[in-house]
């Protein structure tokens, strides 16, 4: 509630007091400049609230008694500019032009002059005496900024009053400035933005065309200016007023200078920049924000990618050192569970024990041992997201892709691919052209999703022990190279269009919210477990069945027949039929590769991680990891590709490309590794 005014301060009229007609003072300003605080401080309880005529925009008026005057205060709607883009902007400018207030007080935010001075630049084009009230001085000081009002006043050539309306500081000075303008004691020589020769020449030509047809009370220059700015209301007004010949002449100028608005707005921003440079002192370089300091490294052309790679390395180091011991414990538990099930079902049909112990517990149980790996992976990603780094990672990744000639916007869906390829393929819709969408859709399956990462980490850990993180990093480097080369290849064949760059607003860094990180990690793990309980379970049973039929022996099973059909191809990579079947099964779901291996190698008491080194030499293991990383995506992703491309041909191309690519690179890796004696 307003406190009583001192004699030097304005006296607010009492409730119910009939407002006396007096000089009209209009309050203008952008949203969030504290204009309402200024209005309340000036008018106290004498406020009248209604609507602007014919509009649903609220109108607030009040009276302020000061030194024998009853100032009528009109609170104009908050606007950033005076172009008729919204009812608020239309009301504000119509009021100033048609009602001709005696004084317009433009309230600006001392802490954000850059955004709030634009309105002043426009108001100075109108025939109204203007005072600038620099409000929220306390907020600016709190941010280490110092606004020198007297310097701003000298630069602008109009009265400038520093204000903290919430504390009623500066109100007497504001009222004194209003008095001074009303009485003619204060000079009003505004330094308006200089629009430059080009726009001024166009304005002069348009003014000449408008001539005597300018509707009252609009100033002719202002009409010409707004025409050039593309103001729809002014355009309609003049279209109705001007004779056809004059309108066609005006239209020809507008058509030839469609971008004149850029020059006009630029002149205003240059003017704002000059005013701010003159009047605002900012914190010194030593006091730059934490975000700014961190971003000097995180978004640096060289340090940024190094940091991103370092963080990825750290994530895999954490995965190995935190998750692998727990994976080992879970494997023992799954093995014990399978043993118990086999014992418990020993009295039943022979196939039942095999199904439950090897098919269900062996398949689904082994996939569930990936949980610790994914928990650390998801938590690390959620942490980076929560502290604000992930957007920087995307920024750095985008630069990498741009250097390879890829579409800038592609990085968004590609980045989504780290979680799951399905939304990443769907996300290619944000791209404008079909060629760009197609390119992105073809590249997405090369981004290793969480399921694929889980398999890679599990197998690399089983085969290479403490060197697992290095192997994973090398795989990721290879993956990036393959994405880059594939992008260049597709780009040459499919795309020769423009690669539009864009601006990215990076969020501020902040301390992590552990609860948010925990919730994100939990949600992702629950989804993984749900998949294990449905798709993986069904396919594990199917794999076990195919491996058991027709005679109950794996080596003579239907599945073995399928796998042996791929034998010649597998032999080039040192992979036996079981590894080839595991790769094929991963088309249903990436984690299924692990479940299938567990089912096909059942019979040993050792956990799968211990069985893998007997199945794979280091060279064959590397080949398997490479093929698994680059192989045909899961059915869900293929369905999304079919849906987004609308073409079976492109879907088939994607499958064929990835199959050839993965097996081709796998063969090369195996043969090269053998040269280094890793084939044993």
């Amino acid at each position: 509630m307003a406190r009583p005014m001192e004699s030097t301060e304005p006296r607010a009229a009492q409730v119910g007091e009939r407002p006396a007609r007096g000089p009209i003072v209009a309050l203008a300003g952008s949203p969030n400049v504290g204009k309402s605080s200024v209005f309340n401080a000036l008018t106290g309880l004498s406020q009248h609230v209604g609507n602007w005529a014919g509009k649903t925009v609220e109108q607030k008026t009040g009276v302020c008694h000061h030194r024998g005057r009853a100032l009528e205060i009109i609170d104009l709607p908050g606007t950033y500019s005076l172009t008729a883009n919204s009812p608020e902007e239309q009301i504000a400018r119509d009021y100033v032009i048609k009602e001709r207030p005696d004084v317009v007080v433009v309230v600006v935010n001392a802490a954000n002059l850059e955004r709030t001075l634009y309105l002043l630049a426009e108001l100075l084009e109108l025939p109204a005496p203007v005072i600038v009230a620099v409000n929220m001085m306390d907020v600016a000081e709190g941010q280490g900024m110092h606004v020198e009002a007297h310097v701003l006043q000298a630069a602008l050539g109009i009265p400038v009053v520093p204000l903290t309306a919430t504390h009623r500081e500066g109100l007497p000075e504001l009222l004194a400035a209003i008095d001074g303008l009303l009485d003619g004691h204060i000079a009003f020589r505004p330094a308006r933005p200089e629009l430059g020769e080009g726009p001024e020449a166009l304005i002069a030509r348009l003014e000449g065309i408008i001539g005597a047809h300018a509707p009252t009370p609009y100033p002719r220059r202002w009409l010409a200016l707004k025409l050039l700015e593309g103001d729809k209301e002014v355009t309609a007004l003049l279209r109705a007023r001007l004779p056809d010949a004059e309108w066609q002449a005006a239209e020809a100028i507008l058509h030839d200078h469609e971008d004149a608005v850029l020059a006009i707005a630029s002149a205003r921003y240059e003017w704002i920049g000059r005013m701010v440079r003159a009047a605002v002192r900012r914190p010194r370089a030593g006091a730059v924000s934490l975000t700014e300091r961190l971003d000097r490294v995180a978004t640096h052309p060289y340090a940024g990618p190094a940091l991103l790679i370092g963080l990825l390395g750290l994530i895999f180091w954490l995965v190995y050192h935190l998750a692998q011991p727990v994976v080992g414990l879970l494997e023992v538990a799954v093995g014990a569970g399978a043993g118990l099930a086999r014992t418990a079902l020993a009295g039943g049909p022979p196939w039942l024990g095999g199904l439950v112990a090897d098919g269900i517990l062996g398949g689904v149980g082994t996939v569930l041992t990936l949980l610790p790996i994914l928990a650390v992976f998801f938590a690390a990603i959620a942490f980076l997201e929560d502290v604000g780094y992930l957007a920087r990672g995307a920024f750095v990744a985008d630069r990498f892709m741009h250097h390879l000639g890829l579409h800038g916007k592609s990085f968004l869906p590609l980045f989504l691919g780290f979680g799951c390829n399905v939304p990443a393929v769907l996300g290619s819709r944000i791209l404008d052209s079909r060629r760009d969408r197609l390119l992105t859709t073809l590249l997405v399956p090369l981004v290793p999703c969480a399921g694929r990462m889980g398999v890679l980490v599990f197998v690399a850990g089983a085969l290479f022990g403490s060197r697992g993180p290095l192997v994973i990093l090398a795989l990721l480097a290879l993956d990036l190279a393959v994405i880059g080369l594939s992008g260049v290849l597709f780009n040459r064949l499919l795309l020769q269009g423009e690669r539009p760059a864009f601006i990215m607003e990076l969020p501020l860094y902040h301390l992590p919210n552990w609860r948010t990180i925990a919730i994100h990690t939990w949600q992702r793990l629950v989804q993984f477990v749900q998949r294990a309980g449905t798709v993986i379970l069904l396919l594990s049973v199917a794999v076990w069945t195919l491996a058991a039929l027709p005679a109950g022996a794996i080596d003579s099973s239907y599945l073995a027949a399928i796998g042996r059909g791929l034998g010649p191809l597998g032999a080039l990579m040192g992979l036996d039929w079981r590894m080839m079947v595991a790769l094929l099964a991963s088309i249903v779901a990436k984690e299924q590769a692990i479940a299938t291996l567990a089912v096909l190698t059942a019979g040993s008491a050792a956990p799968l991680a211990a069985r893998l080194p007997q199945l794979l030499s280091p060279a064959a293991g590397l080949a398997f990891l490479v093929v698994q990383m680059l192989f045909v995506p899961c059915i869900g992703t293929l369905t999304a590709i079919r849906h987004e491309t609308g073409s079976w041909r492109w879907t088939a191309f994607s499958v064929a490309y990835l199959a050839v690519l993965s097996f081709g690179v796998g063969i090369v890796v195996y043969q090269v590794a053998r040269l280094f004696a890793l084939g044993v």
Binding site: L262, G273, D398, F400, G408, L416, R429, A501
Partner: protein, 94 residues
């Protein structure tokens, strides 16, 4: 000034930030922000839809497992923006 901003965006190698643009133009970041808003209002820039383009993340069944629901706002050049740059680059008629 706005044309220069458009030129810097178009000439950037990949994504750029408001801070980088402000640095290149020798102005404050606080001045770049309203300039970008104005360029959007005038149709020279467009704001890129957040998320994967499927609408709001809250209604997506995959939101729980999506690691990169974008935290950052993005703006891209429009056809009008590219046209303005082409016109500015073209030699003016004698």
């Amino acid at each position: 000034m706005l044309l220069r901003l458009l030129q810097l965006i178009a000439g950037a190698e990949g994504a750029t930030t408001q801070a980088a643009l402000a640095h290149r133009m020798g102005i404050s970041e606080a001045l770049v922000a309203p300039m970008i808003d104005d360029l959007v209002r005038l149709g020279y820039l467009t704001m890129v839809e957040p998320g994967c383009g499927q609408g709001h993340c809250s209604g997506c069944s995959l939101s729980g497992s999506c690691p990169a629901q974008p935290q950052a706002r993005l703006w891209a050049l429009t056809a009008k923006g590219r046209s303005a740059l082409r016109q500015a680059a073209a030699p003016s008629p004698q």
